[in-house]
């Protein structure tokens, strides 16, 4: 993929396979693996395997899975992988708030290939998995140091589950003090939506604070929202705009005064590592997304961890089991002895492989290295902000004269007003230069025509320059020939497709079975419509 050294733009065309859905490839009787029958000596000893499953839970007919041989499966997924653009393929600055950093491949060697990790079973006795427990225990010590908190739980399988777990813990904390009227939590519009959704799922009422005209959270609105019904505040800082709440200490003080706890959403803490700590800012709980700041690949909704931390006052409500170290026996063990625990929020010990990857990443960096991560990601962001600000059509709203931390929510509102080319159009055009589409914003859009970028520490000046050059080019195209941009992409797997609303149950199928049913129904519907048309003519 050559790059024009003057314009920094690449000639790019994505692989295009027009791949079938795997179910369409099915050939009845074709097999990937022939599973052997259980040997008589084994079945004699352990009995019939299916007998251990209650009758009501057993399928009467086999599942309708695709029947394909191994080689075709391999080809299929390699084709699909070539039609994607992710962190290891492109300059992935695009997913602001997701911290798409480079994950060194040595992590995979440890987490996915080391037999000590790969071949263990979650039900193995603790004394046989001492190495794994040691890694979990030590990772906890690292995160305690980084955040200032006293205890961590690695059970939550993502940031939202961490927020949910925190809300459950907070309720248990208040209940233990006989304080059962605290039924509300407070969050802000530019906090991550899980700071509203987590507590809501746990049964809390949620009060959201809107940004004022300068993009800040209005401290007076916060004080008006605060009452003896407030259980906790759930706040992301810096917010999604990249702006640090300069009055955060007032929020924390006011909340504590009202008897509420303070939860710091540090899902992406890239700009703060080794610089500030949640505990020092007065917070009672916090969480890190290990799949953001701590280098675990996002894994397409799998393999994530929302590492949840808290102070000693709250720790007794945390999920079980916890990994502890018995100094006498000099052994790690799983501690279930927590009578006030909220219980489990995930099976076994959570996503252990992810913990191993984060541990590896922290070990590679050391304390000084983590600090450097923060410095580099903030510096990269300042550089890119300056460069992007020079591009016609780009607007950066709010907090004039103030720096953003590690990410910025930009806006194409001027480009849209000037040319009719909006953020969705620019996003599609990016694919033609081999870049991942960018993330716009949570909904509803408060900043019009938004796009949110985060050039974390992994990217070089050259990477950022190339990335910015693409935006400059698209802006130029929009002012010269808006139609061209609006009909993009041209070099991607698919061309422009209509953007249906997710709320079209009759048109959208999320499983193959649904697809077949809806297709049949649509065919019937079409036949009826055609009949009607014929009749009217």
């Amino acid at each position: 993929m050559p790059r024009d050294e003057k314009t920094l733009l690449r000639k790019f065309h994505e692989a295009k396979w027009d791949e079938q859905i795997i179910f369409e490839m099915s050939v009845p009787g074709e097999r990937g693996i022939l599973v052997r029958e259980v040997e008589p000596s084994v079945s004699k000893k352990v009995g019939e395997v299916l007998d251990s499953i209650p009758l009501a839970l057993r399928r009467k007919s086999p599942p309708k899975l695709p029947e394909i041989n191994q080689m075709r499966v391999m080809r299929h997924f390699l084709h699909l992988s070539q039609e994607t653009m992710g962190a290891d393929l492109t300059i992935d600055i695009s997913e602001g708030t997701c911290t798409m950093k480079y994950s060194p491949k040595v992590q995979e060697h440890v987490a996915a290939r080391h037999p000590g990790i790969r071949e263990i079973h979650p039900l193995q006795p603790a004394e046989t998995i001492q190495g794994t427990l040691e890694i979990i225990y030590k990772l906890e010590q690292f995160l305690k140091e980084i955040s200032g908190m006293d205890k961590f739980s690695f059970q939550p399988g993502g940031g939202a589950q961490a927020a949910y777990t925190a809300a459950s813990v907070i309720r248990a904390y208040h209940a233990s003090r006989g304080d059962t009227d605290r039924t509300e939590t407070i969050t802000t519009m530019f906090s991550h939506p899980c700071d509203a959704a987590g507590p809501a799922t746990a049964g809390f009422k949620v009060v959201t604070l809107m940004p004022n005209e300068e993009g800040y959270v209005d401290v007076d609105a916060f004080k008006a929202a605060l009452s003896d019904r407030t259980a906790a505040i759930f706040i992301t800082n810096p917010e999604d705009t990249g702006i640090y709440n300069p009055r955060i200490d007032e929020f924390v003080r006011a909340a504590h005064k009202a008897g509420a706890l303070c939860y710091y959403d540090q899902a992406n803490a890239n700009g703060m590592l080794g610089i500030t700590r949640a505990r020092d800012a007065g917070f009672d709980l916090c969480h890190f997304n290990l799949h953001k700041t701590f280098s675990v690949p996002h894994g397409s909704m799998g393999g994530a961890v929302g590492a949840l931390g808290c102070t000693n006052d709250i720790a007794k409500y945390f999920p079980v089991p916890r990994v502890e170290f018995d100094r006498k026996k000099k052994a790690y063990f799983l501690d279930y002895d927590a009578p006030e625990s909220i219980g489990k929020v995930r099976t076994f010990m959570g996503n252990v492989q992810s913990l191993v990857k984060s541990y590896t990443w922290i070990m590679q960096h050391g304390a000084q290295g983590l600090h450097e991560v923060a410095v580099c990601s903030v510096l990269n962001n300042q550089y890119m902000l300056k460069k992007l600000n020079e591009i016609p059509g780009v607007v950066v709203r709010y907090a004039p004269g103030k720096r953003r931390l590690e990410q910025v929510r930009y806006s194409w509102e001027k480009l849209k007003a000037d040319t009719g080319v909006g953020t969705d159009d620019v996003m599609r055009r990016m694919a033609d230069f081999g870049l991942q589409h960018y993330w716009t914003s949570h909904h509803p859009w408060v900043v019009p025509e938004p796009f949110t970028l985060e050039p974390c520490e992994s990217y070089s000046k050259d990477d950022i320059d190339e990335y910015v050059a693409v935006f400059r080019q698209i802006s130029k195209e929009a002012y010269e020939n808006p139609e061209f941009v609006k009909n993009a992409p041209y070099n991607s797997v698919v061309h422009k497709v209509p953007n249906p609303s997710i709320d079209e149950p009759e048109r959208i199928a999320v499983t193959w079975r649904q697809y077949l049913k809806k297709k049949e129904k649509a065919r019937e519907g079409l036949a009826t419509r055609q009949l009607t048309v014929e009749k009217t003519h």
């Binding site: 809501a200 959201t208 809107m210 300068e214 993009g215 007076d220 609105a221 009719g420 909904h443």
Partner: protein, 379 residues
Amino acid sequence: MGSIVVSNTKKKLGLIVNPVAGIGGRVGLKGSDGASILDEAIQLGAIPESPQRASEALRVLARIKENIDLYCYPFDMGESEARECGFLPIVVGSIQRGHTTSEDTFRAAQEMRDIGTDLLLFAGGDGTARDIYRSVGRTLTVLGIPAGVKMHSAVFALNARNAGEAALTFLTDSDQAYVEEEVMDIDEASFRRGVVAAKLYGYLRVPQAQRYMQSAKSGGFQTEKQVIQGMASELASSIEKDCLSVYGPGTTTRDILAEFGLDKTLLGVDVILGDKIVARDVNEQELLDFLKAKKAKIVVTIIGQQGYIFGRGNQQISPKIIQRVGKDNILVVASKQKLASLQGRPLLVDTGNETVDAELRGYMRVITGYKDYVVYRVN
């Protein structure tokens, strides 16, 4: 997998240009309604904004002109603009050239509806929007190309080009989904004296290409319907059965009550007790009579883009009524999208009574869904 069915049938687009819209703006006359103002503006050398704006929108639509039958009134009410942009318009109706009035707009809109146009584009301001509302109400989907001096109504696109884009999206989209937005206007006579008194006149159907609209809304993960259902559940759990509830005008309050199977008036104030509407479109006196017997709650939503919750379109809920019911019994409902569209500006009250306004000022809890609220500043 999955194919897009493109309709081959031609779309019918109506076009109305109010040739004098915006004429008062540049010469500082705050509007162009009424013949004498018009003469004054022309004498001051004013040039109408609308022809140029209409052309700007049409140029976007010219991309699909082969698929559009464009209907318009003669000369400067649309024909000239259409021809300038390469359309071969079907000209209907007749006007007295150079002397068009609001009645021409009124007649034109009705004809466009009778022809069965898919969409009516109009270039003008609040006055034009009112004429169109008066003429066709909510029986036709329309979209305003902003060209007037006053544009308080939410039926206009952000600018002329975006009006064209929104129209194009609507005409090529199989759904042709629409929303209802406010038609508001201020009394021009008092406006010229420096007094702003906006009034809610009604609602027009506009395309749901909301990102293009001035009060920018965006398609979210939660649909409008889900938000309304959430608010309805919240209200159901916060209003006791034996308590009267006084619902102000607006699509939000109407849609919430529709969730309970109740058919609320769109522009009126209705009174609900238990699961029934006990009075529709009441005035202040009728409300006072109701309040004698029972305790009550007031449910209002934001009217217009400026963010009014009292004093615009719901004047029946007078200061006296508000005082009687009490601030604690006022429930404000609005979606987060609507609040976000205020861009940090406060909610407004203008009841006409300074004491009541002062009482309402400060911070209010707005119901945004089930167990979901925003605490927001009221000014």
